[in-house]
Amino acid sequence: MSKFEFPPSIKSRPVWGTFEERKGSAFLFIADAEGADAIIDIATPDLMAKAHIIFINRGTDYAEKLRALAPAQFYEGPSYDAALSRIKRVLSDAKMGIQVYLSGTESLMGQAANEATLAGVPLASIQTEHRGSTARRMQCVHCKGFTEDVETDPFQCSHCGLNLFVRDHYSRRLAAYQAVCIDAEDPGNVPPSKGIYE
C-alpha cells in the first residue's frame, strides 16, 4: 500500500517518519492494522531475532505475515486498549539501548509514543511510520470525551452528541486532535460532512 502524504499543516501537528535501521540492544515494535507493512518492509532475520512485536489487528489479517517473520516475541490483540497493559509491562522492563518502532494509525503512534516517553525512552530512540487509515483520534473540547477513527469533518461527538469541527491542533499529551462545536452560534446549521483530507 502506498503511503499517504499528509498536507502541510500547523506546527503542533505531529510529523511522522519512515523507519530506518538503528543500532540497539532491544527492539520493540508496536503496530496496528496496515502498520504491519512498515515492519515487514524493514524486517531482517537478524533484527527479528531480537524483536518484540505487539500487533493490534483492528480486524485485519496481517498477524500471519508478521508471525512468519519469526520475531523473538509476538503478541496480537484486537484493540489498543486490549494491548495497553502488555505495552506498559514491556516498557517498564525496558533498558537503555531499546529502540521503539511505532507504525500504523496516528492514534496508535501518538498513544504508544506517550507511553514510551512516560516510561523514559529517549525521544531519539522512538521512530514512527504512518500506514493505513488517516482517521483521527479526536477530543471534544466541550465534554473532553475522545472519539476514535474520525474520518469526516464535521462529525458528531460520540459522548455529548455535539456537532464538531476537526481541527489540526494536536495535543501530544492526549495523543488527540481538538474538535470544536461548529454550530454553537446557530444550532442546527451544520455544513455537510466531507472527508478530512478532501
Binding site: 538503528r22 543500532k23 540497539g24 540492544s25 532491544a26 525496558a94 533498558k95 537503555m96 539501548g97 531499546i98 529502540q99 516510561a119 523514559g120 525512552v121 529517549p122 525521544l123 531519539a124 530512540s125
Partner: protein, 327 residues
C-alpha cells in the same frame, strides 16, 4: 565622547591566593585557591573548569583545569594537575614554580561538561586524570541525592588519584580497574541493563572516550545521552606565519605555542573559553589562505572545516605559504 569600553575577550578573571599545594601521587598535585578579596567564589556546576593563568618568565600560560572541589563549598576552588614531562610546560610550571601563598589569577568557571539534570541515573567513566571533573559532579549529586556510579581506569593503584578516598566513601558506587594488572573496564557489559533515562559521561584519553562513545552507540544509546569532556591540549607543530588583518600585524606561531597563544603574545585580545577546541568561542574567520589547515578542534562541523574559511586558534594549526585572519 569616550569610546565604549571593550570587554575582555576571555572569561572574567578572579585574583586568588594558593592556599594549599598537596602532592597526591608521584605525578599529580592538588592546588587549592581562595579569593584574594576573601569573598566566596562564584557558584559552579560539577564538571566545570577554570583557566589558570601562569606568569612564566615573561610569557603567560593559560591552561584549563577541571574544578574538582565540592560545588557546595565556595570558600575554596581546587584543581588537580598531572605533571606532563613532555607537555608544553604549563603542568611543569604548576609543579615546580607554584607554592602556597602565591598570588595567581584564574577565570570564572566555564561549564562545558555537566550532569544532565533530567537524567534518572548517571554512569561515569574516568580514565586516569580524567577523574577530576567527576569529583565535583559527584559532590553535586551527593547533595541532591542523585543516582550515580563511577567506573575508573588507572594504570596502577599508586597512580589512581583519589581512588582510595572514593572507594572508602562510596564502596557500592565506585569500581576501579587497573590496566597494569590487565583489568579493563567492560564498557559493553556495564552499559547493558541500565534503566531508561540513564545518561553516561566519559573523560579520559581520546581513545578511551572514543571507545565508550562507540560502544554506547552500538548498544543503541542516543547521542543525547552520551556526554564527553573533549579537551584537546594544543599540540606542537611546524612554525607558521599568519597575518592578522584588523590589527595589521604579521606574526609567527612557534613550534610549541598555539595560534591563540601567539596572538595573545602580541597583546591582541582574542576570545576564548575552553582553550581545548570544544566551546566554539575562539572561532575566527579566515580572510584568505594558501595551504593546508590542521583542524584539531571538536567544534567545526565537517563542511566548515573543509571550507577553509574558519579556524579555531586554541588548538588548530596551518601549513602553507599564506594565512590571513580576521583579527
Amino acid at each position: 565622547m569616550s569610546a565604549p569600553q571593550k570587554a575582555k575577550a576571555g572569561p572574567e578573571e578572579i585574583p586568588v591566593i594558593v592556599s594549599a599545594v598537596v602532592p597526591v601521587t608521584d605525578h599529580v598535585t592538588r592546588f587549592e585557591f581562595t579569593r584574594s578579596d576573601g569573598a566566596d567564589f562564584p557558584p559552579f556546576s560539577g564538571g566545570a573548569h577554570t583557566v589558570v593563568s601562569m606568569k612564566d618568565e615573561g610569557r603567560t600560560r593559560l591552561n584549563p583545569y577541571s574544578l574538582m572541589s565540592d560545588p557546595a563549598d565556595l570558600s575554596t576552588y581546587a584543581i588537580s594537575v598531572r605533571r606532563e614531562d613532555d607537555g608544553r610546560g604549563g603542568s611543569l610550571f604548576m609543579h615546580t614554580k607554584v607554592s602556597q601563598g602565591d598570588a595567581m589569577t584564574i577565570t570564572y568557571p566555564v561549564t562545558l561538561f555537566s550532569v544532565d539534570q533530567r537524567a534518572k541515573k548517571h554512569v561515569f567513566f574516568a580514565g586516569g586524570i580524567g577523574i577530576t571533573p567527576f569529583l565535583s559532579m559527584i559532590g553535586q549529586l551527593e547533595h541532591s541525592n542523585g543516582n550515580w556510579e563511577l567506573h575508573y581506569a588507572a594504570r596502577t593503584p599508586e597512580s589512581a588519584v583519589y581512588a582510595d578516598m572514593l572507594l572508602m566513601k562510596f564502596p557500592t558506587k565506585v569500581s576501579v580497574y587497573y590496566s597494569g594488572k590487565g583489568d579493563r573496564i567492560p564498557f559493553g557489559t556495564l552499559l547493558e541493563g541500565q534503566p531508561l533515562g540513564t545518561h553516561t559521561y566519559v573523560c579520559g584519553p581520546a581513545r578511551f572516550t572514543e571507545h565508550l562513545r562507540d560502544t554506547a552507540t552500538q548498544k543503541g544509546w542516543p547521542a543525547s545521552h552520551i556526554h564527553s569532556e573533549e579537551f584537546t591540549a594544543p599540540a606542537p607543530g611546524e612554525p607558521f606565519t599568519v597575518r592578522l588583518c584588523k590589527s595589521d600585524k604579521t606574526i609567527t606561531v612557534g613550534e610549541h605555542e598555539s595560534l591563540l597563544e601567539a596572538i595573545e603574545r602580541e597583546k591582541i585580545d582574542a576570545p576564548f573559553m575552553c582553550r581545548g577546541g570544544s566551546c566554539g568561542q575562539c572561532e575566527t574567520r579566515v580572510v584568505s589562505a594558501n595551504g593546508e589547515f590542521i583542524h584539531r578542534d571538536h567544534w567545526l562541523d565537517e563542511s566548515d572545516a573543509e571550507s577553509g574559511t574558519k579556524i579555531m586558534p586554541c588548538v588548530s594549526r596551518f601549513i602553507g605559504s599564506k594565512l590571513e585572519l580576521d583579527l
